[in-house]
Amino acid sequence: MNLHRIKAIIYKEWREILRDRLFLSLAFFVPVSMMLVFGYGIKMDVENIPFAVLDQDRSAMSRDYLHLFMDSRYFDYQGDVQNERELEPLLADSKIRFAIIVPPRFQENLLSGRPAPVQSLIDGTFPFRTATSKGYVIAINNAFNGKLLAGFISKKMGLSPEQAASLVQPVKLELRYLYNQELKSIWSIAPAMMMFILMMTPPFLTALGVVREKENGSIYNIYSSTVTRAEFLIGKLLPYLGISAVNVVILWFMAAQVFGAPFKGDPLFFFLASVVYDSCTTGIGLLVSLFANTQVAAMMITVVVTIIPSVLYSGLLVPIASMDAASQFEAHLFPAMYYTDIAIGSFLKGIGMEQLWGRAGALLLYTLVLWLVSYLLFHKRVRA
C-alpha cells in the first residue's frame, strides 16, 4: 500500500465531488431535510382523535358521560348524529375515527342499579392508533365506572365517599416513565432518525460514486493504472466517509438542539461509534456497487438492502426482544439494530462504553467483513 497513491485517489475523488456542486450540496442537504421532515412530521402521539356521538338517551347522566370524551385532549368532538346509519359514511370517509353510542334508557338503568350498555366504534385502519384509542376509551369508562360504583357502595353500605372510593379501587398504580418522562415522541424519534438517515445516505453516495465510474467507463483508467485494489477502494471511500462524519455531527446537533432530545451519554464514544456505523453503511454501498453495472440498478438495490432492514429490523418500530426467533436472527444480521441501541442509549438512557461496547464491537466487525469481502470481490481485470 502506497500512501501517496491513496492520497492521489482521495484528491481526485474529492475534486470530482467538489465540481458537482448540486451533488455536493445535496449530500449535506438531504440528511438535514430528512431530519426536519421526520422530526416535525412524524407524530406518534395519539391526540385529537376526531369522533362523533350518538346519544339516544339525552339525559343528564349521558351528557355527563359524553363530556368526559369531549373534554379530553385525546379526542376531538365533531358533532352529534341522529342515527347509527349516519356513522358509517363518516367512518368510511375518515371524517371521524371513532364513534360512541349511548343507547336509550342509559340513565334509567344506572339509577335503578342495573348495568347500562354503551358501545364504541373504532376505525381499525391504523392498528397502533386503534389500540391506543381503545386504551383511552377503556380508561375513561373505568373512571366513570369507579365513580358510579363508589356512589352505589356509599349509598348501600353507608360509607363516606372517600372510603367507598378506596374500597372500589384497592390497588393503586404508580407509573414511572423512564428515559422520557414526558413521553415526547420526538425524543425517541430523533435518535432513531440518525440511525435511519445514516443508514440510507452513505450507501447512496458511495454506490453511485463507484458505479458512475463503471457506467461511464472511467474505471478503465484505474484498471490500467498502477493503483492497487486496496488503494483504490480506500481512496474512493474516505471522502464519502468524511462527508458522512460531518453529517453525524450535524444530525446530532439537530437532534439535541432543534428537537431538544437530551443527550446524557458519552459524546466521544457516541461520535466514534457513529463513525464506525458510517463506515459500515458506506461498506454496504461499496458492496452494492460491485454487483451493479448501472446506476439505476445500484440505486434500487441500495433501497432494498438499506431502507427495509433499517425500518423492519432496527428496533425502530418493534423491539427486538418481541420478535419471533426467525426475525430476531435476521435483526442480528443487520447493523441497524446495534446502532439504534447505541443512539437511544447515548441520548436517553445515558449509558456509554461500559454497557454498549458489545454493540460497537459488532458494528466494527461488520465493517471489517464488508470491506474485506468488497476487497476480495473487486477485480482490476474485467472478467470475460
Binding site: 412524524i42 368510511a92 389500540a131 415522541s185 458512475r212 434500487m300 418481541s322
Partner: protein
Amino acid sequence: MSRFSKTTHHAVYRWWSRMVAMTGKELRQLSRDYLLVGAVLFLFTLDVMMAGGVKMDLNMATMMVHDADHSQASRELIYRFQPPYFKFGGEILNQKEGIELLDQGKALVVLDIPPRFQHDLIQGKPTSVQLQVDTGNTVLGTLAASYGGQIIGRYGFDIALQRMNITDAGLASVPMLADSHRVWYNPNQKDAWFMPISELLTIITVLAMMLPAAAAVREKERGTIEQLLVSPLTPTQIMLPKVVAMTLVILLGTALSLGLILRGVFDVPMKGSIPLFFAVTALYTFAMSGLGLFISTVSRNLAQATMLIIMVMMPIILLSGAWTPPEAMPPGIRQAMYLSPLYYYIEMAYGILLKGAGLKLLWDSLLGLTLIGSAVFGFGVWRFRRQFS
C-alpha cells in the same frame, strides 16, 4: 377533403406507431437490466410480505418482576400479564437490577410489588404497585403503560367485587357501564393488513418517480439523447413512452403484489372495486412521473437525480398520512397535506381496499388527485419539452 383526412389519418398512425416503438424500446431496455428487474420484483413481492411481519402493537414485551411479597395475591397479579402483550421475563432481587435490565433493553417493563401487599389487601388498606416503563420508544412505552394499567385496574376491580361479595351473577344489579368495542374495517386489528398496503403504496410512489427519471437522465448521461433528438421524434414522443412504459411496469407489479401477497398471503378483504383501484393507481403513477421528469431536467447525472428524488419523496410520503393520519398533524402541516398527491391516493387506496368505499364517497379525493396530478404532470412535461428548445 378526402385527401386531407387521409394525410391526417396517416399522421395519426405514424404518431401511434412511433409511440408504440418507443414504449417497446423502454421496456426492452429495462428488461435487460436483470439486477434492476430483480430489485423491482423484490420490492413488489417479498418486501411487501416482509412489511407484514412488522407489528406496531405491543408484542411479547418482556416484563421483569420485583416481588417483595411472594404471596398468592402477588402471584395472581403477575399471572395476569400474559401474551400476546406481555411475557414474564423472570424475577429480580432488587430495584437496581431492574434499572440495569431496562438500561440494556432486556426488559421493557418492571413491576414492583411491595411487601405486605396481600396483607394490606385483606385488611382493606389501600396499597399500590409500581410499574416502570421504558419509554425510550414512546409508541411501545405508551402501549405498555396503557395495557399494564388496564390489567392492574381490572385486578383491583375484581378484588373490590370479591371483598363486597358480589358474584358475576350479582353484577347484573350493580350500576355500571357495560362497554363493548367494535373495530371496523380491520376487526382483529391486524397489522398484517395495514403495513403491507402502506408499504405497497410507498413502493409505487418511489418507483413512479425513480423509473421515468432514471430513464430520462440515463439518455442524457450516456449521450443517447442526441440520437433521439436528430430522429423525427418530437419531445413528447420521447417523453410519453417513458412514462407509459414505467406506468405499465408499475401496474403489473401492483397486480402481482395485490394477487400474490395482499390476497394470497395476508387475505386482505379487498372490499371495493379492483378496476377502480387500478384506474386510480394509473392516474397517480402518471402524476408522480411528472415529478420524476421534472427532476430529470434539473439533474445532469443519476447521482444528482437520486438525491433530489429522495428529498422530494420524503415530504410527499410524510404529508400523505401513510405513517401519521391527518388529524395527528400540527395545524400548519395539516393544510400542506392537501398538496401531496399521495394523500389523495392513500385515502382512496385504503377506502377501496379496506373500507369498500366507491366513487360516491371518494369523488373529492379523486378530484384532488386529478387536479394536483395534472398540475404536477403538466409542469414536468413543460420543463421536459423546454429543455430541447
